[in-house]
């Protein structure tokens, strides 16, 4: 059923616009005065103030690679993250671990692991898909660079950002 | 000092007045006319006639010429600049101008005022706006009123003619 909205009949004073104009001026001056005396909450002044302390646990920042407690790189170069990455930001070149290596039963390691941070959309699918829990989204959000190549995080950079993570995956450890 | 100013402004006025005719682009002509009006106003000011000078700027340069410019801009200017020079019209125009100058010189020379030197107008001690007002509203009150009515009639006439539905 159609509703008919009646147009309000304006009296002469209302049609002269003056009450509405004065009302508008009153509202803006209220905002002005409140701001002048510092009673208005304003946005964070970013470079000086940062919201790092207020950042939630589940914050999805830059994806990073982590090492385990034995300083072994957790990534086994299964390339699942490379396949699932929606913007195809991840490029992995797998390499084979030599037989005399302590972790030779892992068989593979990433020879190259690049994440193009211009492409990355911080979706967190790589973290979710990783069977080894080797890739984590950390809290770095200010990823900047002057060139495109600077914006590609290589393995070294990724481990530098990721650091070491203990526990979680124990299947490759030596049996006691 | 005043003589130098007089020559500067009269030359400027006449040159820009000539430019009004000589320019092919109507906007250039209109702006030359504005310049001519401004120089004329400056001449009035050198004669201590501040009121006339400022009114000259206010009415002609500030209002009338803006309307002119407004209309000119709505026209197709390219057709105007493309038009060829018409020799016959040019010669005719110069002939009329020459005749007019000769006529004016004769009339002015035959006037007794051309030989007399008038004393400068007595300053009343009031601004010239006051003098003009007193003259208009006392000595020339009737012509002033008639002109007022005439202007009113023409205003009403314009409003009537510009109505869409003329029956």
């Amino acid at each position: 059923m159609a509703t008919i909205v009646q147009r309000p009949k304006l009296n002469l004073l209302e049609r002269s616009y003056f009450p509405a104009i004065l009302g508008g001026l009153w509202i803006t001056i209220k905002h002005f005065i409140k701001m002048l005396f510092g009673q208005t909450k304003v946005t964070m002044q970013y470079p000086e103030q940062k919201w790092d302390s207020a950042m939630p646990e589940w914050y999805r920042g830059a994806p990073t690679l982590v090492k385990d407690e034995h300083n072994r790189e957790r990534c086994v170069a299964c390339q699942l993250c490379e396949f699932i990455c929606p913007p195809r930001a991840i490029t992995i070149k797998p390499g084979e671990l030599p037989g005399d290596n302590r972790w030779s039963k892992v068989e593979k390691y990433p020879e190259k692991f690049d994440i193009d941070m211009i492409r990355c959309i911080y979706c967190g699918l790589c973290e979710e898909v990783c069977p080894e829990q080797a890739i984590f989204l950390r809290k770095d959000y200010s990823i900047t660079g002057l060139t495109r190549s600077e914006m590609v995080h290589d393995k070294e950079k990724l481990y530098e950002l990721g650091g070491v993570m203990h526990g979680l995956v124990h299947k490759w450890n030596e049996k006691k | 000092m005043l003589t130098i100013l007089f020559w500067v402004f009269s030359v400027l006025m006449l040159a820009s007045a000539a430019a009004v005719v000589l320019f092919r682009n109507p906007v250039n002509s209109a702006m030359s006319l504005v310049l001519s009006f401004l120089a004329l106003a400056a001449l009035f000011v050198t004669l201590d006639a501040f009121f006339i000078g400022v009114i000259q700027v206010l009415v002609y340069a500030g209002a009338v010429m803006v309307l002119f410019l407004f209309i000119i801009m709505l026209l197709d200017l390219k057709a105007e600049t493309r038009r060829r020079l018409n020799i016959a019209a040019l010669a005719g125009g110069i002939a009329v101008l020459g005749g007019f100058v000769v006529l004016i010189t004769h009339v002015v020379k035959s006037l007794p005022a051309s030989t007399d030197h008038f004393p400068p107008l007595a300053r009343t001690g009031y601004p010239d706006a006051y003098d003009i007002g007193m003259t208009l509203f006392s000595d020339f009150n009737l012509p002033f009123q008639i002109i007022g009515v005439l202007l009113l009639v023409s205003t009403v006439g314009v409003v009537f003619l510009s109505r869409r539905s003329l029956r």
């Binding site: - | 009121f51 209002a63 803006v66 410019l69």
Partner: protein, 378 residues
């Protein structure tokens, strides 16, 4: 060997004091122009619950310098197909009239016996209108010479708007002249010193009032019958003049010539670098000049109640100058305040308001004033 006496000869004294006043006023006003741009950004930010410029200098106070440097260093681009001559002179034509208005404004009483006005013309008000009516050429020529549709529309709108509102502007101040009996801006201010401001006639010099409180220095505070009656047409004049001034200076809510949402940037769409800056500064200079005219005509110019003028010593002369610029700053704040409150008018509404309302009201106001004056004299 020219001695000091040479500088005190009347004619030479007039010349160098006028030159000095011109330089000082130009400096003060151009600084005010730069800082009113800063104030515009700051006020708009505060009204919208933001902080505004706060990076360059304390509270962003060096921001105008940074803006100026940026505009100076940009490429001065001339698009193809423009009329080069008019394209280049249009920004200057927009800036110069606004500055010329300042010549007749009495920005103070007197300092060391020198009257604080650059040119004390007997027809000061007409000079203001004549010069500000020339300001439209800059905008119209910029719009036409740019050879582009949006600037052209802006120029057309501007010319029709300014012609329409000049009428109400001129008619609305006629009552002021009828009351003061002069066109000289200095004398209009002196009248307000003696009889109270046009919009606030609460004191006067001679008796005959409804309510009188005599103060120590001989002035009287209270209500005068004549002044209180004349207050009604004065308020009407003030409101119309103020609104027409908004239209003349192309300020919101009448900024149709440069309506960003419809016309990109209006008449200065095609301009860049210092030419654009001249348009920008010209708009603010016109605003300051307009505010100065409003202050002079209606708000008592440099006067404050019971503050002596410059003949009582240089200190009071400086106080008078400060008062004038403080009042101008207050009016500019009002301009900014209105800009960040009201939406833009539609073009037909603008024309209707100018021709159907303000023109008639201003005309009737003249008759009202004449009636009151006739009643008071009888």
């Amino acid at each position: 060997m020219p001695s000091l006496d040479l500088f005190l000869q009347p004619e030479i004294f007039l010349v160098w004091t006028a030159a000095l006043k011109t330089f000082v006023i130009l400096g003060v006003v151009l600084t005010m122009v730069a800082y009113s741009v800063w104030a515009e950004r700051k006020v708009s930010a505060f009204i919208q619950d933001r902080i505004g410029p706060n990076r360059v200098g304390w509270a962003g106070l060096i921001q105008p310098v940074a803006d100026g440097v940026k505009l100076l260093l940009k490429e001065n681009f001339v698009p193809g197909g423009v009329n080069k001559f008019f394209f280049s002179i249009a920004p200057s034509l927009a800036m110069i009239p606004a500055i010329l208005v300042l010549a007749v404004l009495p920005f103070g009483s007197s300092l060391f016996g020198v009257p604080m006005v650059i040119a004390n013309l007997d027809i000061g008000v007409l000079w203001v209108f004549a010069v500000s009516s020339l300001g439209v050429y800059g905008i119209v020529l910029a719009g036409w010479a740019s050879n582009s549709k949006y600037p052209f529309l802006g120029g057309i709108r501007s010319s029709s708007q300014m012609i329409s509102y000049e009428l109400s502007l001129g008619l609305s101040v006629v009552p002021v002249f009828m009351i003061t009996g002069t066109l000289n801006l200095g004398e209009i201010v002196q009248y307000q010193v003696d009889h109270g401001w046009m919009v606030f006639p609460a004191w006067f010099q001679s008796g005959g009032g409804l309510l009188e409180i005599t103060t120590d220095n001989g002035g009287m505070f209270g209500l005068d019958l004549g002044q209180s009656l004349l207050w009604i047409p004065m308020m009407i004049s003030f409101v119309i003049f103020m609104i027409a001034m908004f239209a003349e200076t192309n300020r919101v809510p009448f900024d149709l010539p440069e309506a960003e949402q419809e016309l990109v940037g209006g008449y200065h769409t095609e301009y860049s670098s210092m030419r654009f800056a001249l348009f920008f500064l010209g708009e603010y200079a016109a605003m300051i000049a307009g505010a100065g005219v409003i202050v002079t005509l209606f708000l008592g110019g440099w006067s404050l109640p019971f503050v002596p003028d410059g003949s009582q010593g240089w200190f009071w002369g400086l106080v008078n100058i400060g008062t004038f610029f403080a009042k101008v700053a207050a009016i500019i704040f009002f301009f900014l305040w209105v800009r960040w409150t009201l939406p833009r008018f539609r073009f037909d509404q603008l024309m209707k308001l100018g021709w159907y309302v303000f023109f008639e009201v201003a005309l009737l106001n003249i008759f009202l004033t004449a009636g009151i004056l006739a009643y008071l004299q009888s």
